[in-house]
Symmetry: C2
Subunit: 282 residues, 2 copies
């Protein structure tokens, strides 16, 4: 059997970012105001610091200003909520990214819900989840949104297909399934309590692996010709899919790295400019 074609997230993300930068420049020229993403970080977790810096760098290169709000690790939920409400009300901020996890003492849900839906460019609020679920206009969670763009780019129409999402987190598995359902896939959610994961995955025309368990899904689990999207993020650049065996069986597959990962930031930048365009037009 021939090997699967790779879905090149690096290339697609670069094109999206380039297009986004053009739109940012046009908007800045027309209004005198650059799109602005507020990044909020609680504490100094090294991985989170790195992520936020990377996002700020990518913003800068796309002509998006970022305003960083660094809060001490001991910040209370109430203080964080107040900060997010201020940013939500600030006309100089168009999008808000609250880096998570935030520490066990913070009520993360209360914090997310303090982000105004029209600035929720990371797609973490109840409202964004519901609009994704109901096929309504709104911001998408960045990784699931990036996955849908990859599928579109490679001509994969989910309508009528069996899609299996492995994982059910609030910002990855659940919204990915809802976006596929809104595009008329027959969607199955699998997770740690699923009894026969291989049998469920074998039904799938489209597999989205989003569970954070290295090489959980192997080639022998796949229906021949399946489209495989690996949103896993494990140590050592290992995805949730065993690439070497899956590539022999799938028709399309995302590499790790260079598949889903770059799409996440591209979606964040694009949605920040979407938000700025709407707010500056209002």
């Amino acid at each position: 059997m021939s090997q699967a074609r790779l879905m090149d997230g690096t290339a697609l993300a670069a094109r999206i970012v380039e297009e986004t930068a053009k739109r940012a420049a046009v908007l800045t020229g027309r209004t005198g105001t650059a799109p602005c993403l507020a990044t909020v970080l609680v504490g100094e977790d090294p991985a989170s610091v790195t992520y936020v810096k990377m996002k700020q760098n990518r913003c800068r290169r796309a002509g998006i200003t970022s305003r960083h709000v660094a809060l001490p690790a001991a910040t209370t939920t109430g203080d964080l909520v107040a900060t997010l409400r201020e940013l939500s009300a600030d006309p100089g901020v168009h999008g808000i990214l609250l880096q998570h996890p935030m520490g066990d003492h913070i009520d993360e849900r209360a914090a997310f819900e303090a982000i105004a839906p029209e600035k929720d460019v990371d797609g973490v609020t109840f409202a964004s989840f519901a609009t994704m679920s109901f096929g309504l206009p709104g911001f998408v969670s960045c990784t699931p949104g990036g996955i849908m763009r990859l599928l579109d780019e490679y001509g994969v129409d989910p309508a009528g297909k069996r899609a299996v999402v492995v994982g059910r987190s609030a910002i990855l598995g659940k919204p990915a399934g809802m976006l596929l359902l809104a595009r008329d896939a027959t969607v199955t959610y699998c997770h740690s309590r699923t009894r026969d994961l291989s049998a469920a995955v074998r039904e799938a025309d489209i597999v989205v692996a989003a569970v954070g368990r290295p090489r959980l899904i192997r080639g022998q689990d796949l229906k021949p010709g399946a489209v495989v999207v690996d949103a896993g993020y494990n140590a050592g650049n290992v995805g949730d899919v065993d690439f070497d065996s899956a590539v022999e069986r799938a028709s399309l597959i995302t590499p790790v790295p260079g598949g889903v990962g770059p799409m996440t930031i591209a979606t964040l930048l694009e949605q920040t400019v979407d938000a700025a365009e709407r707010q500056l037009a209002a």
Copy 2:
């Protein structure tokens, strides 16, 4: 093969309503205030008028006051939103039921979102959908919530089971699937674009039919011993399941009528008292 056992929604709903009435009486005695459900109806659609009257009657018998707001058919979205915001802010109202459909000129979503989540006893807001989806405390959509109670009553633990939800409406199919997922079922959403519905249904240990197509699901589609919940509501008291053939194959099945239907109102009443207890304790 022996016939399926019936899941008696009429009996369970009666017990829930009885318990709810006791709680309402205790609350009224302690606070001097009876739980109050505001019912909002736009226009005079005869079926909607009947539904609202039935809900008011059931409230009265359970010791729940209802306050009816009848708006003319020509009411604008803006006026409806203003009315719902007033009721949301009114300390004398503990729960709000907005009867739908409301007419094509109304933005139903804008109306639903004007209901304060803490008074959303019908489970129609984005916030309620998200709390159901994320397994967080909040109000459930009444029919899906009633379905979960029926499963519990008959000892059906969804954990690890394959559940197939046929239908994906915002207040029935989608939340039913999310509630089953939150209880650790492996959940598949099927719908009008599903290619081989019979094959998908045959995988299911639990089938929830919620699509509004008479007798769509037949006995031969079922895995022997499946649990069948028929939330269909079609003319002539016909469900989405062909009862006569399904009862020969299922292990448990809801009749129509007398299955899911009575659970919906029972859940509405119970959640109204839940809301009143919280608001009057605050």
